[in-house]
């Protein structure tokens, strides 16, 4: 679970309390469906066409405004651990929302959606929200999964559905914003039982390497 106050962003972080909520969001799905590209398009508005397997990304941070609230999104990458289905269960902890992604030009990635959905239901908390996204909708010529099949599966699983393209920047922002909206709706429904994760509050103590001055007990 992420926190607002730990030292991961270096110096700046200690003073950076400039948000009302923090949401941990995960992008999940088979290898090379475009998860990392999707993340880069949204967070940086950039796209690299060459296929590079994900190495070196922990998560990306982006703050957005929703209903006058500053919401800090922490969007986590899979670190390539989806390739052999070895994503750690710890990765799912505290996630508020999921973007479950397949590639419309890759049947296998679509067939795996059910499996990923089961993983999410098994390892994440009950209120986590999921959006199904068919990526690479710019590659119409190579399409093998019709929009209709995507929509049907999403209905069956109870998720909202988007087709998107990280390359042509179609529906990327909309996907994230819709996910944030559904999380917010769910939150206001269950505000009384608010999970501390929602507000970005770290539950336990902060670990630190600073020496604590020894006890200065006085016997007198």
């Amino acid at each position: 679970m992420a926190s607002a106050t730990d030292s991961r962003y270096g110096q700046k972080e200690s003073s950076d309390q400039n948000f009302d909520y923090m949401f941990k969001i995960l992008i999940i799905g088979n290898s090379s469906v475009g998860k990392t590209s999707f993340l880069f398009r949204y967070a940086d508005d950039s796209f690299t066409p060459a296929f590079v397997s994900t190495v070196g990304i922990d998560f990306k941070v982006k703050t957005i405004y929703r209903n006058d609230k500053r919401i800090k999104l922490q969007i986590w990458d899979t670190a390539g651990q989806e390739r052999y289905r070895t994503i750690t269960t710890a990765y799912y902890r505290g996630a508020m929302g999921f973007i479950l992604m397949y590639d419309i030009t890759n049947e296998e990635s679509f067939n795996a959606v059910q499996d990923w959905s089961t993983q999410i239901k098994t390892y994440s908390w009950d209120n986590a929200q999921v959006l199904l996204v068919g990526n690479k909708c710019d590659m119409e010529d190579e399409r093998v999964v019709s929009s209709e099949r995507g929509r049907q599966l999403a209905d069956h699983l109870g998720f909202e559905f988007f087709e998107a393209s990280a390359k042509d920047n179609i529906n990327v922002k909309q996907t994230f914003e819709r996910l944030v909206d559904v999380i917010c709706e769910k939150m206001s429904e269950s505000l009384d039982t608010a999970d501390p994760a929602v507000t970005g509050a770290k539950q336990g103590p902060q670990l630190s390497d600073q020496q604590v001055p020894p006890h200065q007990d006085c016997a007198c």
């Binding site: 962003y9 700046k12 941070v61 982006k62 670190a79 336990g204 670990l207 001055p213 007990d217």
Partner: protein, 447 residues
């Protein structure tokens, strides 16, 4: 997997995952495999509860009163983190803290004459404790002040004690401490499992007491920390670190053969494929013919519906039963955690009693601990052999970790990690080696 790697790691226990993380961060190409379909091996937290029952051949499964199975994450090996200890340092240097949340363990207790007492470790607590008489308290307080001020680089703090030659027995004598005080100092503060330390040079013991006090000073209630969702989160956190730096992970992967050429490892065979490597790290279960047995530990996992008596209803605690109190050679430990740590269903507690096996009836050996826990809803008894490698790996380049011992913290595990690193890299371990080498958090952090 049909490739060439710098390092292949077999088993995803904590030791293996930390080493995997260090190797990947340092640019090594790492393949990390486990025969099990889950992370952690012996250091995993079993979930759902049904799995734990299966593992212990309790075919009837958990009764309804245990609540929802997936609310449980039950450790097989009970341990806590010392707040000022080496594992916390490793978590901070690697920033694996990003993936974890901790809680402070609420109390640390010691057993004396059939009852349990809070472990006093500061001067104030020593004076308030009813574990000692008035005069004993004063002497113990003097001893604590001496330890707190002791600095191995400053002879002015030695007060006539030579850290390298004076035995701990003589230090106790110098402060005129009685047997009961010696018992809890050696076992509940210095965390020794036996009395062998008494005739060793005192420096190690003094440093251990300092570690305890400094850990306690961090968060107040006890010197121990515990991660939410169980200890199994720890290896997973380090596995993610390794993956971010390019490590490849494969679970559910049987290891058919470790291939040696001229006495040196060259690869691992799995499901007909061979992955080549220069070095191999593994836990003892992957090389049964290259390890020796170094004792046995009994661990009894107990599910309770109540906090332990006389612990002020703590939702987590440690109880140490010093060997002298129950006529044994090694201490008995109880580690207790609960639903407050997301490891048990609402209202449930998990206490694990453990000790080094000394007789042919190990269950009976743990009885003094179980008596403190009654009534017990369900017991799971595990008796495990401890293994250590026969060879140091310098020739074979096969580096095997030691089994997790009976200690209730991770200091010995960290020593094993540092030692393996030293043998693999040919140079002393430095925590600086663990630091992430590049930025891996993007977005607003860059601005």
């Amino acid at each position: 997997m049909d490739e060439e790697y710098d390092v292949i790691v077999l088993g995803t226990g904590l030791t293996e995952c930390i080493l995997s993380g260090i190797m990947s961060v340092n640019g090594k190409k790492v393949l990390h495999m486990d025969r099990n379909p889950y992370y952690g091996g012996e250091s995993s937290s079993i979930t759902p509860l049904e799995e734990l029952y299966k593992r212990f051949q309790l075919l009837e499964g958990p009764p309804e009163s245990m609540g929802r199975g997936r609310d449980w994450n039950v450790d097989l090996i009970p341990k806590f983190l010392m707040a000022n200890g080496q594992l916390v340092k490793m978590l901070l240097y690697t920033e694996v803290t990003r993936y974890l949340d901790f809680k402070v363990v609420e109390g640390s207790f010691v057993y004396k004459g059939g009852k349990i007492y809070k472990v006093p470790s500061t001067e104030t607590e020593a004076l308030a404790s009813n574990l000692m008489g008035m005069f004993e308290k004063r002497r113990f307080r003097k001893f604590l002040v001496f330890v707190a001020n002791f600095d191995e680089n400053d002879p002015k703090t030695f007060e006539g004690v030579d850290p390298q030659t004076t035995s701990m027995r003589d230090v106790y004598r110098k402060f005129d401490l009685g047997q009961d005080v010696i018992d809890f100092t050696g076992h509940a503060l210095a965390l020794y499992r036996t009395d062998d330390y008494l005739d060793q040079p005192c420096l190690e013991t003094i440093n251990r007491i300092k570690l305890y006090s400094e850990s306690l000073a961090r968060y107040g209630k006890s010197p121990y920390l515990y991660p939410l969702y169980g200890l199994g989160e720890l290896p997973q956190g380090f596995a993610r670190l390794s993956a971010i730096y390019g490590g490849t992970y494969m679970l559910n992967k049987p290891v058919d053969d470790i291939i040696m050429e001229n006495g040196k490892v060259v690869g691992v065979k799995s499901e007909g494929e061979v992955a080549r490597c220069k070095q191999l790290i593994c836990d003892p279960s992957y090389i049964p013919d290259r390890v020796r047995k170094a004792g046995q530990v009994i661990r009894i996992i107990c599910i309770l519906s109540h906090p332990i008596k006389n612990t002020n209803d703590a939702n987590s605690c440690q109880i140490i039963i010093p060997q002298n109190q129950v006529n044994r050679k090694s201490d008995i430990y109880v580690c207790m955690i609960s639903y407050a740590h997301n490891v048990a269903a609402q209202g449930k507690y998990i206490a694990i009693a453990s000790t080094t096996v000394e007789t042919t009836d190990p269950e009976k050996e743990v009885e003094p601990a179980l008596e403190l826990l009654e009534p017990i809803d369900q017991k799971f008894v595990a008796i495990s052999d401890l293994y250590e490698p026969i060879d140091d790996g310098c020739e074979s380049q096969v580096f095997c970790s030691c089994s997790y011992d009976a200690t209730t913290h991770f200091e010995t595990t960290c020593n094993d990690i540092k030692d393996i690193y030293k043998r693999m890299a040919g140079m002393a371990f430095d925590f600086e080696n663990m630091k992430r080498k590049q930025n891996d958090v993007f977005g607003e952090a860059e601005q």
